[in-house]
Subunit: 317 residues, 2 copies
């Protein structure tokens, strides 16, 4: 029985193995994903993003528990930036999720940001696809939102929650300028801290100042204390309210069109590049080009054009 | 006279125009870059990275002044993440650089992280190439180091300085775990603040614990107060010391090989994708694929394989 068939039967070990194959970029993984594809598209994806230290992991843990009490199966994809400025702390946080480790209705997977050739958003959507096929009703994607990579990942989500926290200092508050456009729901976590009300008020004010198109979604600012579980059910309810809006308003159509087009483009870019590298498998040819570049005898733009013209002969100018 | 020729004559306006053309992905820009390429490879590239609020912009400003007193021409590429979690604050910082605005020996260029199709590291290296051709002796690349994108950018630099700052809180200090490998020099800025000595000592300890290969570079921890200019000349001297090491030890050979290979690969990936899109210019064909994906009648992996097989016929399995 193929891995894909086992995944469709709900086999968690098979899902984990397929995700490892995806990580390792094994060609066989693509064949399995093809088999899974027709059976997917059912999961609802929730994105949780925000600066380091906002308490996202704890919030995800609580949301998971909340959705579980509603009988929903929950998948979690946690993006662990092993790259410079986070690393250890976030991997450590994952340990907290252990209370769900005996629950067959919860599937947690960490993704490292380093070394994902096809791009992190590509790996994230492939992993989410496997969780979808495995029968997860809700998939939570948690990411430290700072770079363009993370914004791309957030675009996967039907509903994006931006998590802020009071008192992270001016530098981090300056952050707020750019986030208004990506959040469907804003969460001020650690709401027991000094300054929580001020942070929430400031967010509200900034949201009110925006140009609002009639009939569009109106993002709310919610307060939570994830550590104690305060405000979690309200947040879950707001997520489901946004879901209802997406479907009732018909916005879901544009959303799906954009997301699927992005997937196609990502896979296209990745596949073209891999095929080109396979074609240049005569490793010497790359070395010769690089040598020429170092000596400035040849420039990379012309070298690439030569290679591409040979590979895609119809595209000569 | 072509833009490239004007740039080679030191025409700053021409350089600015070419950079705009690069931003806008005009095909003509590639032709100009080809003409510039043989005349480049002379500039020394310094990377400055660190978390938001570490005072990087001020430090870059001071370094620029310091290199100027040595008679060197200085280019600055500042990566402004217009994407979520920074934005305004960083653009604002740029204003400080104005004291160099009448100095023909300084060329400053901000790059937005958003919407750079070929990837930010690609735009950064193209812009650095123009500055190199313009005759800049030193090119400083300043980036908020958090995501994979920024790590890729830092790889452009001959010497990478990682800037830390005391008292940014535990979450941000946890950051330190992953940065040891990318820094050639570590800078504790705002060294007048409480905890500066502790931060410096911790960094030293972490550096000492590393496995050190004999004959490899031994990164120092420097203290600066960029605001007052304290420690800047020492930092400049250390950068030049690292440069000497690169050349004397022969490490420069591997560095150049890696960098040039990466450039070639980046341009290859980008060009292949653009040609493929041009080939699918019958926009309807993409729409048909996306529709099929939404209805789960076709999967993107097979659709991409079909397209790629048509474009690169020799790569049928």
């Amino acid at each position: 029985m193929s891995l894909a068939e086992q995944v469709l039967e709900g086999n968690i070990r098979a899902a984990a193995r397929l995700m490892r194959d995806i990580d390792d970029s094994r060609p066989q993984a693509i064949e399995e994903l093809k088999l899974l594809y027709p059976h997917t598209g059912n999961a609802y994806i929730v994105g949780i993003t925000g600066p380091p230290g906002a308490g996202k992991s704890t919030l995800v843990d609580q949301l998971t528990a909340s959705f579980r009490t509603q009988g929903k199966k929950v998948g979690v994809v946690a993006i662990d930036p092993t790259s410079p400025f986070t690393g250890g702390a976030i991997l450590g946080d994952r340990i907290r999720m252990n209370r769900h480790s005996c629950d067959e209705g919860v599937f947690i997977r960490s993704l490292a940001t380093r070394g994902s050739l096809g791009g992190l958003s590509r790996s994230t959507s492939d992993v989410a696809l496997v969780m979808d096929a495995l029968g997860m009703d809700i998939i939570i994607i948690e990411t430290v939102g700072v770079g363009q990579d993370e914004v791309d990942i957030v675009k996967e989500a039907h509903t994006t929650c931006v998590v802020m926290v009071p008192g992270l200092g001016d530098d981090i508050q300056a952050i707020k300028a750019g986030i208004l456009e990506i959040g469907d729901i804003f969460v001020v976590n650690k709401a027991d801290r000094d300054g929580a009300d001020r942070t929430a008020r400031e967010l509200c004010t900034m949201l009110e100042m925006r140009q609002v198109v009639t009939g569009s979604w109106n993002p709310q600012v919610m307060k939570t204390e994830a550590q104690r579980g305060t405000g979690i059910d309200e947040l879950t309810a707001e997520i489901l309210k946004h879901r209802e809006f997406l479907f009732d308003s018909g916005s879901i159509t544009d959303f799906l069109r954009e997301r699927n087009q992005r997937h196609f483009m990502d896979i296209l870019r990745d596949t073209l590049f891999k095929k080109a590298l396979a074609c240049m498998s005569d490793k010497g040819s790359i070395d010769r080009i690089v040598d020429g570049m170092i000596n400035r005898r040849i420039d990379p733009y012309s070298a690439v054009e030569d290679v591409v013209t040979k590979m895609m002969p119809e595209f000569k100018r």
